[in-house]
Amino acid sequence: MNRRNQTLLWAAVFALLLFYPKLFGAYYTNLFVTFAVFAAYSVSLNMLLGYTGLLSFGHAMFFGAGGYGTALALKHIPGLPLIPAILIGFFAAMILALVFSPLMVRVTGTAFAMLHLAFGQLMYVLALKLRTLTGGEDGIGRFPIPPLNVPGIGSISMKNPENFFYFGIIILGLSIWLMWFFTKTPLGQVQIGLRDNAKRIDYLGYKVPQTKAVVYVVCGAFAGVAGSIYGLFQNLVSCDGVLGILVSFAPITNTVVGGIGSFFGPIWGTAIFQVIEEITVRYTERVELVQGLILVLVMMFAPTGFVGFINSVRQRRAARSVASASETQLEKG
């Protein structure tokens, strides 16, 4: 794709997003916010999984830290404005990642996954059992949602789903853009080197544990932003909703189905799952059967995911056009 087409494509995407609530109504507007939350969350996981090669079974703890951080802050600090509330979620997840990073950067592979499983489940049962702080199974709900105060324009109510749509999309889009930008920086390139050959990166003079820690903290913090927006959107954070083991697995399946290692893969994967879920709930109650079949079929027939599948189709077509071009040349010659 050349540069002009790319600009046109992005302009079309922005125009679509701008008129989306008017075009599709309240139900699909809310659906899109959920999609955007999980897309940003899955992208943050893919930074670990696809770019750095670290499989985590407990990414939900950062998502949950963001959600609980924002919810607790709004509940206990009267008159807290919106942006600081989200920043509290962001920093809660960041600090959690910072605390865990010295431990996590020295393990890789299965041990990394299992340590995250242990701490993720520990956070989950703690949130479930420390009822006075977290509300136990009921979670924290009906905390006040402050309006967005923009100097010069006034305050915009966030209880209106349409306003929240624009606000959420801007924050989550910004997060995704920042993560994309991060992968393009020299540090983001070192990250890929860490996945492919950590020893060589070490010999090149980079500090491997410290680099990993920076990546880890960035991934955790953006998962926190996604969790924070999710909490605000639902006006509820609950153990199973933001900290459960399924919340940890969702971005992994999204990433693999969308295309591991590709930046936009997780976004595609989230979209695919959401569309399929929307369609299946209309016709059948067996959503889990359909989801299970998709996962098995993807692994058996398209293990590189949606993006990988598209790329291989494109390559095959390119190869065929090259072949046919050379054939016509032969015929002419």
């Binding site: 393990v107 299965t110 049962v125 992994i252 591991i260």
Partner: protein, 284 residues
């Protein structure tokens, strides 16, 4: 009082061990991340319910249900897992999560969502009285069963020719293959034994927990934690950690009813922080 509590804890720990020992062979030794293991456990519980309602004989169920489950496990290994094993843990994770979702849906379609009661066989019903205490016979039977399985597995893996081949194949599959052993068939067989163990555990636990679709989640996570904490490929580690978790569970409920589940994960987190390969594991 404390002793009865201890027996309950031990019985739960032993069930955990039965499930975990199968997972330990599949995940710990063969290195296949099988998140559908607990689903096979649940499937076997339903099979045993079905056999019990048709024949009414617990012992028939104990023989038939695990074998049928193992058959399904072998199909899974032969036609699915083998193809994605090369792409590492992530492929196995996605595949087996998919399989577990399918099993869950299938169970709901065939048997519904309500929990089905399973009766304790009359021979093992009631209480045994010795040393001035009453013990429920069935729980003693569960404990005995687990010890028997541990003994059989230890003999099979460390004393038999098959065990030697398996351990060698796990260490270096190509070399063993070159020596004329059909390694894929050995792996398929071992995977079958692993699911068979889960099946036995399910038949044994069904009268205690009843049979319901949430069974896989309840026991599966605990079994997974046991394997990871005990150390990959270490049956002894799994056995000891199962006992610890069983006792933590029953005494924890008694003394710190709020925080009993926290203890288990806290124990796991501490162990993995100090030894990422688990308590008795030799490799990561």
């Amino acid at each position: 009082m404390y002793i009865t509590q201890g027996i309950h804890g031990l019985a739960y720990g032993m069930v955990l061990f039965l499930v975990a020992s199968g997972l330990n062979i599949i995940f710990g030794m063969m290195g296949i991340l099988n998140l559908a293991h607990a689903s096979f456990f649940m499937l076997s519980a339903y099979f045993s319910y079905q056999v019990l309602t048709t024949t009414g004989n617990f012992w028939v169920a104990l023989i038939v249900a695990p074998v049928v489950t193992a058959f399904f496990g072998i199909i899974l290994e032969r036609f699915f897992i083998r193809k994605v094993h090369a792409s590492g843990h992530i492929g196995e994770l996605i595949l087996t999560v998919g399989i577990s979702l399918i099993i869950l849906a299938a169970v709901k379609i065939f048997w519904g969502t309500e929990s089905l009661p399973v009766k304790v066989p009359p021979l093992l019903d009631g209480l045994a009285y010795f040393w001035g205490m009453d013990y429920p016979i069935y729980r003693l039977f569960v404990i005995g069963m687990a010890v028997l399985v541990l003994a059989i597995m230890l003999v099979l893996l460390y004393k038999s020719r098959l065990g030697k081949i398996v351990r060698a194949a796990v260490a270096d599959a190509d070399m063993v293959n070159a020596l004329g052993v059909n390694v894929p068939v050995v792996f398929m067989f071992i995977f079958g034994i692993g699911t068979w163990l889960a099946g036995v555990a399910a038949v044994v636990i069904a009268p205690i927990l009843t049979v319901f679709p949430g069974l896989a989640d309840q026991v599966g996570m605990d079994a997974f934690v046991v394997v990871v904490t005990g150390g990959f490929g270490s049956l002894l580690g799994a056995f000891i950690v199962s006992i610890i978790f069983g006792l933590l569970n029953s005494y924890g409920v008694q003394f710190l009813s709020q925080l009993a589940p926290v203890l288990m994960y806290a124990f796991m987190a501490v162990v993995l922080t100090i030894r990422p390969m688990g308590l008795f594991g030799e490799r990561e």
